[in-house]
């Protein structure tokens, strides 16, 4: 079967949703020319300018208008280009989209999908490289999704569009061109993680682009006799507590890795939960608390490499095995 890119997969999921449901539409800057990552390619030709809506550079109103649309019977997909620019629309996301249903006593629903790509984008420096999934997981009312593969970018986007809650949908800025297996037609179930690789020595929870790094590190760890169970979280909120706790209880060790800054990252939530619930050793790997610099030597410091992951998990397992040889 022909492979498909991460961008194409999302494009197809959106097109399918638009064909099936006239309430679905997309709005944002440059979408009419296919979006700057090709993630809306050909859609305006098929669906017209009234449903693939080019907008001014007005992030606050792109998001705010989507709230108004969602409240009145449409299901907008909101293009924010990168999560960094969505910082111009935070009131609209947090005070309006997320709280609307609750604050007004359930009179309305805000079924929108806001696409906020995260991650370091090679050589794009501090204002185009942020991973802010932890922020949105902290906000009641929001669902937070971060697909790692083309297949998931189809299945999860389809699920997000079908969802009646506002969904913060965080693709990764460096995965657009990634090729992968063609997607299944069915939407995913939001909130369900996926075991990418089974293993008995350590549970490694991660998401987004780092899933691929984790798989690589796990492969190399296996050569050193360490069996790593890699879990792709897929949905950051609600996260799949049961699956993670099950796995961690079995392996007895939890490592969470994410590209976001480690301090205050969502890894803290997972590590803290596992520590509270299971009392097993936990560790986190995230970016240092520094902005992302432009020069490659600087940018690399903010990236989590497979080498780094391998080193962290090896040290973790070895130290812990020494400490508790009976375990």
């Amino acid at each position: 079967m022909a492979l498909i890119s991460y961008a194409q997969a999302a494009c197809q999921a959106l097109a399918a949703a638009m064909r099936a449901d006239p309430r679905v539409l997309a709005l944002g800057e440059d979408v009419g020319r296919g979006g700057i990552f090709g993630q809306y390619k050909g859609l305006q030709q098929e669906f017209g300018a009234a449903r693939i809506i080019d907008t001014p550079i007005s992030e606050a109103t792109i998001m705010g208008a989507a709230v108004g649309m969602a409240l009145t019977g449409l299901r907008p997909v909101v293009e924010m280009r990168v999560a960094d620019f969505a910082l111009c629309a935070i009131d609209e996301i947090v005070n309006q989209a997320a709280k609307n249903r609750y604050m007004f006593g359930g009179q309305g629903r805000v079924p929108l999908v806001a696409r906020l790509p995260i991650g370091i984008w090679s050589a794009s420096a501090a204002q185009h490289s942020q991973s802010l999934e932890a922020w949105f997981a902290h906000i009641p009312g929001l669902v937070v999704v971060a697909p790692a593969t083309p297949a998931d970018n189809h299945a999860l986007l389809a699920a997000a569009i079908a969802c009646d809650d506002p969904v913060i949908y965080m693709e990764h800025k460096e995965l657009w061109a990634l090729q992968g297996e063609p997607p299944a037609p069915d939407p995913a179930v939001l909130g369900k993680a996926r075991v990418v690789r089974a293993g008995a020595d350590l549970t490694l929870v991660t998401w987004s682009k780092l899933v691929h790094t984790a798989v690589e590190a796990a492969g190399r760890a296996a050569q050193h006799g360490i069996a790593v169970e890699v879990i792709d979280l897929r949905t950051i909120w609600p996260w799949d507590r049961d699956l993670v706790l099950d796995s961690a209880a079995r392996t007895g060790r939890l490592l969470v890795a994410h590209e976001a800054v480690q301090a205050g990252g969502f890894g803290a939530e997972i590590a803290a939960t596992v520590a509270e619930e299971l009392g097993i050793p936990v560790r986190r790997v995230g970016a240092p608390r520094i902005p992302v610099g432009y020069a490659r030597t600087l940018e690399d410091v903010a990236r989590i490499s497979a080498e780094r992951l391998l080193e962290e998990l090896t040290t973790f397992v070895q130290r812990d095995a020494q400490r508790r040889p009976a375990a």
Binding site: L25, A50, R51, T55, P56, S58, A60, T61, M63, G64, A65, A66, V67, G68, M69, A70, L71, T72, G73, L74, D91, E92, N95, Q96, N100, R101, Y102, M103, F104, G105, G106, Q107, G108, P140, G141, L142, V143, C163, D164, D165, P166, V167, L190, G191, W237, P238, R241
Partner: protein, 345 residues
């Protein structure tokens, strides 16, 4: 677009009496809210009295009733409205039930928002009132989106978007007006210019001639009217709404009025001259309308009847609200979101 039928205009006197009725009901509602809120507002560093019936910030539109009444007279039930923190008048004029509204101010389970919103977030989606908003200018993009939606769906609905004079200095004002203009959306922007932004006189904070000039800078037709003269508001709104329904795109109504009370009910507003307030009280919109009704030959008894009916309606609302149940604690967990329901920790 589907055809919408409008109510046949009654005689000028009857129409004005209808407008007067709306204003009287708003006035009675807010007087009652103010009364039952005494001690309930924790603001300016004080602590809220636990036993007050209406609690938290209460923003009264006393003296500004003509704007809500005059504009909403031209809205259908299926039309939408977005409001501000000062939203009682808009909500009532759009057709919400005063008992349900009072229950909301009292924080009861039977309130429009089931006690989740209170005064500052009052809403009645069943009459198209999409919500008061605690963030200045935040209703503007939402209004524009609702108008965009109405246009896309071809529902024929229009949107009235209310905001204050202070809101025109926030970014979403520009963005929202621009959006409405380029997509030619059915939205009536209504700037309720009561001359103050909290404790600040707005004029000194506003560059240029103000609201209408900015709208015109984006080629949105704009008109400034005496917002205490309900007929002026009514006429301007009628014409603008007609243009909007005819596909004429966004229109902008700048209504000059005055915030008679403090910013919130407990604000003594000592930062302004009493003389200024006194002068403003001389053009109270209800008194102006009553005088005009008189001039049109409407019997004083009929006006008194309207006043009495308004007070009686609100007495009932108070009684209903006093007797209404509190939300259960478990309700704190409902209507958060569907996905992950139950995973609230």
């Amino acid at each position: 677009m589907p055809v919408i039928t409008f109510p046949v205009n009654s005689s000028p006197a009857e129409h004005l009496l209808d407008l007067y009725r709306t204003m009287a009901r708003i006035r009675a509602f807010e007087n009652a809210a103010e009364e039952t809120s005494r001690g309930g507002v924790a603001v300016f560093g004080s602590t809220a009295d636990a036993v007050a019936l209406v609690r938290g910030p209460l923003h009264l539109s006393t003296g500004q009733e003509a704007v809500a009444a005059g504009v909403c007279a031209h809205l259908e039930r299926g039309d939408y409205l977005t409001s501000t923190h000062r939203g009682h008048g808009h909500t009532l004029a759009k057709g919400a039930d005063t008992a349900a509204m009072m229950c909301e101010l009292f924080g009861r389970a039977t309130g429009t928002n089931h006690g989740k919103g209170g005064s500052m977030h009052i809403a009645d989606f069943s009459v198209g009132m999409l919500g008061a908003n605690g963030v200045v200018a935040a209703g503007i993009p939402i209004a524009v989106g609702a108008a965009h939606s109405a246009k896309i769906r071809g529902s024929g609905a229009i949107v009235a978007c209310f905001f204050g004079d202070g809101a025109i200095n926030r970014g979403p004002f520009l963005e929202g007006l621009n959006w409405a203009k380029i997509f030619n959306l059915p939205v009536l922007f209504v700037c309720e210019d009561n001359r103050y932004s909290a404790t600040t006189a707005t004029d000194a904070m506003t560059g240029g001639a103000g609201a209408a000039a900015r709208a015109r800078g984006m080629d949105i037709p704009a008109e400034t009217v005496d917002g205490n003269d309900v007929r002026a508001v009514d006429h301007a709104a009628r014409d603008m709404v007609a243009r909007i329904r005819a596909g004429g795109g966004p229109q902008f109504l700048h209504a000059l009025t005055y915030r008679v009370k403090g910013h919130v009910s407990v604000d003594p507003a000592t930062y302004r001259e009493q003389g200024e307030v006194d002068r403003a009280l001389e053009s109270d919109p209800l008194q102006l309308a009553a005088a005009r009704l008189d001039a049109l030959g409407v019997d004083a008894a009929r006006i008194a009847e309207v006043d009495a009916a308004a007070r009686a309606e609100i007495e009932t609302a108070l009684a209903v609200a006093r007797a209404a149940p509190w939300p259960q604690a478990a309700a704190a967990y409902t209507d958060v979101q569907d996905t992950g329901a139950g995973q609230w920790h």
